[in-house]
């Protein structure tokens, strides 16, 4: 495991009882079990608690501006198709400020894995509400209960064109690791949502301040319903549907791009006009 960890950056910044440590641990175990060539992996993150994860993985890694991790990763993949970018970021980063980049990267079916730590709020900046905060939940910016409707992230990912979509919680460690392995090896846009505990911010305002209680809650309300219609895969205080929801094949963007460039170059070669050969 040490091989995959940037040990100079440890200890990490996360609070006791936070699910982000589980995500890091399971991601590193997934790489270890896959014997993944870490020189071919680029871990990219945005801003927020989980945004620090790119510092902890002993890979090429980049910590971008808020919400822009995916757009950066698209730039990497487009010019270096042999590399695999993995974006690990939070629900606010990926689906509020970065929402546009998410739907378009999924639509392109570019070979990038996105792992989302969904803790229902902006934990790093004081527990504000975000695009996944459940209706009626309390946060520092929804003092009288959230009146908005949250995104169903697996439904959004599936509708936007992702070829692999799964949701687990931070207590489903083994199944989470298996999904991470599938996602990293999947050719195309893959998405793994991880519902995580946030005792310090979301938890203490919603009767989940005790880390053990938070984990018990996840265990009690989670039901595995793999491959049901993602629209029915709800996330509610009394029910969280987990499982794999999409696993399909579709032509991938960086391969299509290279194929298209090669065609252009083949035509030039016929005319004797080719100067530079594509990668």
């Amino acid at each position: 495991m040490e091989h995959y960890t940037r040990t100079g950056m440890i200890p990490h910044i996360w609070c006791n009882g936070c699910g982000d440590g589980v995500i890091l641990g399971e991601f590193l175990r997934a790489l270890d079990e896959l014997k993944y060539d870490i020189n071919k992996l680029v871990v990219v993150s945005g801003i927020g608690c989980i945004g620090r994860i790119s510092g902890y993985t002993n890979t090429d890694s980049f910590h971008t501006t808020h919400g822009r991790a995916l757009a950066f990763a698209v730039g990497v993949k487009a010019v270096r198709p042999e590399l695999k970018p993995v974006v690990i970021s939070g629900d606010g980063d990926l689906f509020a400020i970065g929402g546009n980049h998410f739907i378009h990267a999924a639509r392109r079916n570019i070979d990038v894995t996105v792992i989302c730590s969904n803790n229902f709020n902006y934990g790093m900046t004081g527990g504000q509400s975000g695009p996944t905060t459940p209706t009626n939940a309390y946060t520092t910016t929804t003092r009288y209960g959230n009146i908005e409707h949250p995104f169903n992230l697996v439904h959004l990912a599936a509708a936007s064109g992702a070829v692999y979509v799964a949701r687990w919680t931070s207590i489903h460690v083994k199944r989470l690791r298996e999904s991470m392995k599938k996602a990293v090896n999947k050719k195309g846009f893959s998405f793994v949502e991880v519902i995580t505990t946030c005792p310090e911010e979301y938890g203490r305002r919603n009767k989940l301040a005790d880390p053990i209680e938070g984990m018990k809650w996840l265990r009690e309300v989670s039901v595995v319903r793999s491959f049901i219609d993602p629209i029915q895969a709800v996330v509610q205080p009394d029910k969280i549907v987990v499982g794999e929801f999409v696993d399909i094949e579709k032509p991938e963007f960086s391969e299509l791009l290279l194929e298209s460039t090669r065609k252009v170059q083949a035509n030039l070669e016929k005319e004797g006009k080719l100067t530079n050969v594509a990668i």
Binding site: S54, G55, F62, T64, R68, S260
Partner: protein, 335 residues
């Protein structure tokens, strides 16, 4: 470019917005290729966030802004030079940037290459600040043979991965740059960081050290980076300072003035940022009057005043999709 780049083995990407374009440009540069994007007006505003990230993470990259009239949507496709201060100060925080200002089709070609060379040499974003008039010009272009073109490349790490510190710089203040996928397995962040790349968000010393280096690697090379064009300046009493398409009118005005025996000279700013302070100071010491015609409400004139003093400097602003005529410039120079 979407037609040309695949022909030469490059990659053209149409992103969902200009924020994403700038982020993808940085990703592509860290993946080891020379990357650029181009925009106008509102798009340049959207790119500022990640231009700051490029400055902070010392990413070689090029941004072309074909200036149109603002603020906001302003006058699409109509000319202006209203973004020249935004070029310097557009993203938050302290940083230095390089911005070039082409005046012709030939210079669009030459300075785009120069922009890449500077960005690779100093590891910073370089802006090509042109305007709609130059952008839509059709005139003769000589494309040199490839062997006649000088291309600079970023300094690559000399040390093996185990000894590589991604943000350690030597005397030239520019760190060696590893690229993704070569086993260096380094980390870069938009947070304040030390030489190892690790975040240092609580250390005043590390923050000062980093920001000073980001600025000084450009400030200390102002004379190497900046280019100006001097015409008829040796005996001049009046100097016109201009850039971009306005420089073409200004040069005509100066030639016309000389034809009438007036001691008028011309200084063209090829580099806008870093500002060639010393050159302007020297010109100011020699002439009685400096006129700065610009297609905005007076922007670079502030920088000229800073170097030349306010007494000698006069602004000649022009707004609303109109280029100064040579006659107008000459009349103001003589008034």
């Amino acid at each position: 470019m979407s037609r040309r780049l695949p022909e030469v083995g490059g990659v053209y990407l149409q992103m969902e917005d200009e924020i994403a374009s700038m982020a993808a440009v940085i990703g592509a540069s860290y993946a080891g290729v020379k990357s650029m994007t181009a925009t106008s007006g509102p798009g340049f505003s959207l790119m500022q966030e990640n231009i700051g990230l490029a400055a902070m993470t010392e990413t070689p990259c090029v941004v072309v802004d074909v200036m149109r009239a603002g603020p906001s949507s302003g006058q699409p496709t109509k000319t202006s030079q209203q973004d020249v201060m935004q070029a310097k100060w557009g993203s938050h925080g302290d940083y230095e940037i390089i911005a070039l200002s082409p005046s012709s089709v030939q210079e669009m070609f030459d300075l785009t290459i120069e922009a890449f060379n500077l960005s690779e040499t100093y590891r910073c974003p370089v802006l090509v600040m042109t305007d709609e008039i130059v952008g839509h010009l059709m005139e003769r272009l000589t494309i040199p043979k490839p062997e006649g073109i000088h291309l600079a490349d970023r300094k690559r790490p000399a040390a093996p991965p185990s000894e590589y510190l991604p943000f350690r710089a030597g005397e030239d203040l520019v760190p060696e740059m590893a690229i993704f996928g070569e086993g260096y397995r380094f980390y870069a962040t938009g947070l304040t960081h030390d030489e190892t790349g690790h975040p240092q968000t609580d250390s005043p010393e590390e923050h000062a050290k980093l920001v000073q280096r980001l600025c000084d690697k450009i400030r200390k090379n102002v004379n190497k980076i900046t280019k100006v064009e001097r015409i008829f300046l040796d005996d001049a009493d009046i100097c016109i300072i201009a850039y971009g398409s306005v420089a073409r009118s200004a040069l005509s005005a100066v030639i016309e003035g000389r034809g009438k025996g007036i001691k008028i000279g011309f200084l063209r700013l090829v580099t806008l940022w870093p500002f060639p302070e010393q050159v302007v100071e020297e010109v100011a010491a020699q002439v009685d009057k400096i006129l700065v015609p610009e297609m905005n409400y007076g922007q670079m004139v502030r920088e000229v005043e800073r170097s030349a003093g306010r007494r000698k400097v006069e602004s000649l602003p022009k707004l609303g999709d109109a280029l100064h005529t040579p006659q107008e410039i000459l009349a103001h120079a003589l008034s």
